[in-house]
Symmetry: D2
């Protein structure tokens, strides 16, 4: 997967989101409110995935969306929630990759 | 937010996930199955957020988790779903930041 | 909570949903597709709850909805998924009430 | 679908949930906290559906659950959220059935 535009780091994404939110007086939502927003975005992704890869026909009046767009919206809310709780996503992602290596080592069949 | 470990780019995250999944014969799940996995991870995040910031007491037998860990698990599934559909998250995130700038410009009160 | 209209039983709800779906040649969606639909409906509920009880302002162009409407849509999808897998919700709900009685007996403070 | 046990009405379900919650001093959670709980339960359903009907293998240590059990847990939270906001699910479900009749009349192919 190659991209014309340079790829942002997780730290840059968290900084961009913070810069964006700091523009506004309201600041960060509460954790439960950000979680609800994440649930809403995952619901929009579900609609798109079901439309493209599931059994659900789309109503004519529904706006054209895209799976990529919904995934990016989810990234945005993940970064927002992380920022609001002072969580370093880079560090957490490194831990997750380490965890997956260990935890799932026996679950699948190694490709040869 | 500063991090000791270097921050991965979205492209590096997508490449790491792809390297991890390519180890296994089963390969990528179907889009609907990856979506179900994302729903499961968001549910685990909801439990953690509700425990720390909501009204729900945690049962003694529930494993200790953390919001950061659940957010990283969500990033992992987002990257998996993106890979399986050949979506470039860097490009999509750039579009989302542009969209937010335009769409929400009037919704909040500009900080002065 | 009293209602002017008679209250349907879970069995009647499952029968109504079945009658509705049996009108159409397509029949029931796959379990993963119905799950995606449930995720979508829960996302719509999240938007309404966040709007009425959270921190998120609603965009002017978003359609007027209601929490009650979204809850009923969720009931509809729950009944659909149950029907498609030949699950008797009445029986399952009876088991859940029994489980809650046992499981949570120690978690909260008994009202006196 | 026939059931040995009598099927509860939605009004009875709302009354049972209210009786159960009224036992405890804490009373109803806030709407955002109940929404988070619903998100958690839908996540548990996603795990079960993915295990039985998707691509995801289940870890040996995960507790045995069932799709029916998770659907009933969702009904419980839906009734809880409805009660806490004084919503009559019977009335809302009647409106939903009416809406579905109208809205989707043209989307599928009528069985003959």
């Amino acid at each position: 997967m190659s991209s014309a535009s340079p790829s942002p780091t997780l730290a840059q994404i968290q900084a961009s989101v913070d810069a964006w939110i700091s523009q506004w007086d309201e600041g960060y939502f509460s954790p439960l409110s950000n979680l609800a927003r994440l649930t809403e975005e995952v619901g929009e992704l579900a609609r798109e995935v079901n439309h493209s890869h599931g059994d659900k026909p789309k109503k004519a009046c529904e706006r054209t969306g895209s799976i990529g767009e919904e995934l990016a919206d989810i990234l945005f809310v993940v970064a927002t929630l992380a920022n609001s709780l002072d969580i370093d996503l880079s560090e957490e992602f490194a831990k997750t990759m380490a965890k997956y290596d260990l935890r799932d080592a026996e679950r699948w069949t190694k490709a040869t």
